[in-house]
């Protein structure tokens, strides 16, 4: 088991390195840097001025070296100019000798956000907490209801319950968050319809979440993923219910509820379990849309801000965090699969 986990972690680290490098590469392309220079300096900079600004700030180092510096495995750039020594790792006013040689994310130095004028790690921590709260409620709503839905539909394939629940599940998978969110706001929050049960924005939920301002965003994210998980569970359940060993159980005289609970459920949940875990990259999509739609200033909202304002270091940090979250859930899914499925023995 330990070797298995080690191997998976190895693959995960390799994946993370590749992905962060891709993100780093894409965000550090010259046009992006040019835009950065102009926003930091002024918009009427000539090309030569842009270039000198960039080279003075270490942006024109080779891509790999920049990546190494950002990671913290390569010494940060140091430039002597007019007898002032400036460097990536030298804080303003700090004597150069006292500055560390390395400063990257491995040292906990995530850089500075040009949009929020704050350290990136602070922003990330704050925003992650907000989104974590949102995700917690999404999971609490989505997973149990999806599983129950799927099991109920799949245990008697072709029945009326199955048809109704399946149609519901198909409809939710066909409704992306930006559609369902708009529909919900229109129906439940707008003055035009007049129900006004919930609030159309979740800004208030950042400090004081309650049912009124938090339910719609949670429901919006949960619904889209719910249909998919429910359909997977249904398919898996329906397949298990036709399996020979379910017939064995039936012919042993086991009652239907016990067949479902004792014999079918564990086998039927193996497939959806991995699906739930692999939902994370998609859920992130939902988070971004919903946070934008409901103006909930969490992680997804930050991603949009960072990306549309060319805030390179913040965008990098956001990418790293989301990639790591995705990879960790994949790892959990792999390990959980082994535990759930006794047919795979790890020795």
């Amino acid at each position: 088991m330990v070797t298995f986990i080690l191997r998976r972690v190895g693959v995960m680290v390799l994946t993370a390195l590749c992905l962060t490098f891709i993100v780093f590469f894409l965000t550090n392309l010259y046009p992006n840097l040019e835009k950065l220079a102009k926003t930091q300096g002024n918009f009427r900079m000539t090309d030569a001025e842009v270039e000198s600004y960039l080279s003075r700030n270490g942006y024109l180092d080779p891509m790999l070296s920049k990546y190494g510096q950002w990671m913290g495995v390569w010494p940060g750039w140091v430039i002597e100019e007019d007898s002032v020594t400036r460097g990536r790792c030298i804080a303003p006013g700090q004597p150069p000798e006292e500055a560390p040689r390395f400063c990257g994310i491995l040292q906990g130095d995530w850089g500075h956000s040009t949009v929020f004028r704050k350290d990136v790690d602070e922003i990330i921590a704050e925003k992650l907490a907000l989104t974590g709260w949102l995700m917690l409620w999404v999971m609490l709503l989505m997973v149990p209801s999806a599983l129950i839905l799927g099991v109920l539909a799949g245990m008697r394939e072709g029945s009326r319950t199955d048809r109704t629940l399946s149609t519901f599940a198909i409809t939710t998978t066909a409704t992306p968050e930006y559609v369902s969110g708009v529909l919900f706001i229109a129906i439940f929050a707008s003055s035009a319809v007049g129900l006004q049960w919930f609030k159309g924005t979740a800004t208030g939920a950042m400090t004081n979440p309650n049912f009124e301002n938090f339910f719609l965003p949670v429901l919006t994210i949960a619904l889209y993923g719910m249909g998919y998980i429910a359909r997977m569970t249904r398919a898996s359940m329906a397949e298990v219910m036709t399996a020979q060993y379910i017939r064995t159980a039936r012919l042993k005289g086991v009652s239907f509820p016990n067949i479902v609970l004792k014999h079918a459920l564990r086998n039927a949940l193996i497939a959806p379990f991995t699906v739930i875990m692999l939902q994370f990259p998609w859920l992130l999509n939902g988070v971004v849309i919903v946070e934008t739609l409901f103006n909930y200033k969490g992680f997804g909202w930050t991603l949009v801000q960072a990306a549309s304002n060319n805030d390179i270091e913040l965008l990098l940090a956001v990418s790293v965090v989301s990639v790591v979250v995705v990879l960790v859930t994949q790892l959990i899914s792999d390990i959980g699969y082994v535990y759930l499925n006794p047919r795979i023995s790890v020795t």
Partner: protein, 394 residues
């Protein structure tokens, strides 16, 4: 003039859609009449779910084609603004702030006007065209890429499989939205990266077809040369036009901002197709007819493309429908975030995004495109479900 009542609005919309109804009735009449001779497609008409899905899909397909390509159905130009019509509700008579409107113009905004005073109904029907001119082709390209790579990965296994699967997982671990934000930006278009990606991705259909012909006809060189030659000439011409915008005849071109959207969507979908094809191949390759082909010395590409691929078509067709739906959702997402497509574009995602800003007061600009997108994707999912059910039968 008085605003229209809801009944009048519905009747007028139905009347506007006349060509669509005719086309739908013709399609269904012909299909139902000949369903016993149409294979899987015909069997679709035995399943109510499949028929409902097919009906929805064809409704939007015909709407899109008639509105986008033939200028039928729509009542006003999608870009025409009328300050007097800003945020006006459904059924408002058409007027302009200054001067009298063209007497030939349609006298109403059937579904009202948006925040710039454009006709919501017309924008909605043309929005369908934006989807159906991209989504099916993007899915098709994703399938070409996924199949061309997935078959050998599943068939040969080993190191090739390890490397390709690693790459596929790499892309799959990328949150889609992040990928879009990184890839579909004006700065990236400046660097030319999308063009290079297009150059790589669009080679796959040509490779696919050449392999297909060569493996099948290598025993008859004359036929082989003909097929491969035609593929190469036509393929190279289209390739030059689409990927490099360098068609020597000047006939084929692809707007750069559309190209980047197209590439991004293909790029996101291809790894999933790859995984599906790989899994199916690993299943089918143990069959005796594959062994029979091996023992008569067939090449590996013949086995993959002619012995394995035709026998996994069922699940692939089903997934193709689902994938068009997913692509539609992705295009909507891009529009919603204002990525890639021009801000004035009538595609559903952009329209929803614009409409949502005033949602607490005006519902009518945002709801029609939202419902349209929902019903098209729902139709595709139902169609896929119907196909799956019918292909499993017998």
């Amino acid at each position: 003039m008085d605003p229209l009542s809801w009944t009048e609005i519905f009747l007028r919309i139905a009347a506007q859609l006349t060509p669509v109804w005719i086309a739908l009735v013709a399609t269904f009449a012909l299909s139902v009449a000949f369903r016993r001779r149409l294979g899987l497609y015909g069997k679709l008409f035995d399943s109510p779910i499949g028929m409902a899905g097919f009906g929805l899909v064809m409704f939007w397909t015909y709407t899109g084609i008639f509105a986008g390509a033939f200028d039928l159905i729509l009542t006003h130009d999608v870009l025409d603004q009328s300050a007097a019509m800003k945020n006006k509700g459904p059924g408002t008579p058409y007027s302009q702030m200054m001067g009298t409107p063209d007497p030939n113009a349609y006298p109403y905004y059937l579904l009202g006007g948006d925040n710039l005073g454009r006709d919501v109904f017309s924008r909605m029907v043309v929005g369908a065209w934006e989807v159906i001119k991209i989504a099916p082709f993007a899915s098709l390209f994703a399938f070409m890429v996924g199949i061309t790579l997935g078959l050998p990965a599943g068939y040969h296994g080993g190191r090739l499989d390890t490397v390709l699967s690693f790459l596929a997982n790499l892309i799959l671990a990328f949150p889609v939205i992040l990928l879009f934000y990184l890839l579909v930006t004006p700065e990236i278009i400046q660097t030319g990266i999308p063009v290079y990606m297009a150059a790589v991705l669009f080679v796959f259909p040509i490779i696919f077809l050449i392999l297909l012909w060569n493996s099948r006809f290598h025993t008859q060189p004359a036929a082989r040369n003909l097929y491969v030659g035609v593929t190469l000439v036509v393929g190279a011409w289209l390739y030059a036009g689409i990927a490099w915008d360098a068609d020597p005849l000047g006939l084929v071109s692809f707007p750069p901002n559309l190209l980047v959207v197209f590439v991004a969507v293909v790029f996101v979908n291809a790894p999933t197709v790859f995984r599906i094809v790989r899994g199916l191949t690993m299943d089918i390759k143990t069959r005796d007819y594959v062994a029979a082909a091996q023992t008569r010395g067939e090449g590996t590409w013949y086995i993959m493309l002619w012995e394995i691929l035709p026998n996994v078509r069922g699940p692939l067709i089903v997934d193709f429908c689902l994938r068009i739906g997913y692509t539609t959702i992705l295009l909507g997402t891009l529009g919603f975030f204002g990525l890639g497509l021009s801000p004035e574009s009538p595609d559903w995602g952009s329209t929803i995004n614009e409409g949502r800003k005033l949602l607490s007061m005006y519902l009518h600009p945002a709801l029609p495109p939202a419902v349209a997108l929902l019903s098209l994707v729902l139709g595709l999912n139902l169609l896929a479900d119907g196909l799956r059910e019918e292909s499993l039968r017998d």
